[in-house]
């Protein structure tokens, strides 16, 4: 994206994450930032969006005036059906997740470790509302990617050598999209894959709590 440098960094990272969705995939977008990925998919993009409260084939989000009181996604947004949508109960919804029919899930994170561990549901003593469906999504989607700011509000890194918070799932994160970079989890640790426009590899390393492996040659930007 040539004008990437001039966009809001968060919008840019969400737009980049949207390009991770290949045609024909079945995808679950986690509550929060990942849900915004939907705004970057064209109306006829061939994707089956799943929401764990019981729907496959999510269509556009609706304003309150047009909302169907019985039709929400797991985050509470009012959504719409598309031709071929189906509704099902919670057992079927997670059967789909656990049995490997979910090609991709995008989740938020408090912490991601260089071995793919994810913590995104509990901060002991401060925040423990329960994990909802996050544990099954993080453990069983065929591909788990994370969408998060590179550091927390205080500037502390969220990409770490080891997670310090209670885990959501162990070793399943494959890729991380942040406002600074795209980072892969590899057997040797974090691998820098792409840079946000205007950001240097050095800046990403400084904001990361583990060693970043750098690619040989040019680093693509987004």
């Amino acid at each position: 994206m040539s004008d990437g440098n001039f966009q809001d960094p968060r919008i840019r990272m969400v737009a980049r994450a949207a390009r991770e969705i290949a045609p024909g995939m079945v995808v679950n977008l986690g509550i929060g930032l990942p849900t915004k990925v939907i705004d970057h998919l064209s109306g006829d993009f061939p994707v089956c969006l799943h929401t764990e409260n019981g729907m496959a084939g999510i269509g556009p989000t609706l304003p309150y005036e047009k909302a169907d009181r019985n039709l929400i996604d797991a985050g509470g947004a009012y959504v719409s059906p598309i031709p071929g949508s189906s509704y099902f109960d919670s057992t079927v919804s997670f059967a789909l997740v656990r049995s490997g029919r979910l090609d991709l899930t995008m989740l938020g994170a408090f912490e991601v470790a260089e071995n793919g561990d994810l913590a995104n549901w509990k901060i002991p003593g401060k925040f423990s509302p329960g994990a909802g469906g996050a544990i099954e999504l993080a453990q069983k989607a065929r591909r788990v990617v994370v969408l998060t700011t590179h550091t927390d509000r205080k500037g502390n890194p969220k990409l770490l050598r080891h997670c310090t918070l209670p885990l959501t799932a162990k070793g399943h994160v494959a890729r991380i999209f942040t406002d600074l970079a795209v980072v892969d989890v590899t057997p040797r640790g974090f691998q820098l894959v792409e840079l946000a426009g205007g950001i240097t590899a050095r800046e990403v390393q400084e904001a990361t709590g583990a060693t970043l492996l750098l690619p040989t040659g040019n680093i693509p930007t987004f």
Partner: protein
């Protein structure tokens, strides 16, 4: 061969629930929550309840009324992040809370309804949700034993019911209702519409009436069922 009429006044259906009962409550957010049955449970002041539900609704809605009235001893849920009252009640020790992974809660309830004793799963291994749970080895793999759950009562919200208890649901209001409607000793249904026996095609039935004990037609749909403007 003919089927029974299970319609009943809501007051009577709820009156049969004893203090201390374990109660499953359908719903995920607003859709599928049996708000009117919950209101009657509040009105009759049943106490010391254990509630099993996906979530704790939001402040001022659904089971929050039961929590705020001090009628709840324990909650078994998957998350309660949208209800600050419930979080406060948990943090202050006024209610006991047990968390369960969402799909595993659904499966444990389904197992109860299916007359199975437990499921074996790898969900939650290596997380603190596995703490204290029985582990079984199968084919060299460690698996968690997740016991079936049954309740004394299930409170179900359906779109449509016939007098024999056959039910259909709408859109994402289905969620936990069908498995819960199989997993309790007494299954109480509030239905937005009651239709004559035979009006629901046998192929279209989502919960067979065999599992249902009582059907309470809703006289009006309160604002709690409406679209939430946040």
């Amino acid at each position: 061969m003919s089927l029974p009429d299970k319609t009943i006044a809501m007051e009577e259906a709820i009156a049969a629930i004893p203090d201390g009962a374990t109660v499953m409550v359908g719903g995920f957010g607003v859709p599928g929550t049996p708000f009117t049955l919950i209101r009657e449970l509040v009105r009759q002041g049943k106490r010391n309840l254990t509630l099993i539900k996906n979530d704790a609704n939001e402040a001022g809605m659904g089971i929050d009324h039961l929590i705020m009235a001090g009628q709840v001893r324990k909650l078994i849920v998957t998350h309660l992040g949208l209800n600050g009252n419930a979080i406060a009640a948990m943090n202050e020790g006024r209610i006991e809370v047990e968390f369960c992974a969402q799909g595993i809660l659904a499966e444990r309830i389904r197992a109860g309804g299916a007359g199975l004793q437990a499921i074996l799963t790898d969900i939650g291994l290596d997380t603190e949700l596995a703490a204290g749970k029985q582990v079984v080895e199968m084919d060299g793999k460690r698996l968690l034993v997740e016991p079936a759950i049954r309740a004394d009562v299930a409170l179900i919200h359906a779109d449509c019911a016939d007098p024999s208890g056959n039910l259909t649901y709408l859109a994402t209001a289905r969620n936990f209702n069908p498995p819960m409607a199989m997993a309790a000793a007494r299954v109480l249904v509030e239905a937005e519409r009651l239709v004559p026996l035979g009006d629901i095609s046998p192929d279209a039935v989502e919960t067979p009436g065999v599992f249902v004990d009582h059907v309470c037609p809703l006289i009006q749909i309160s604002e709690e069922y409406g679209v939430v403007r946040r």
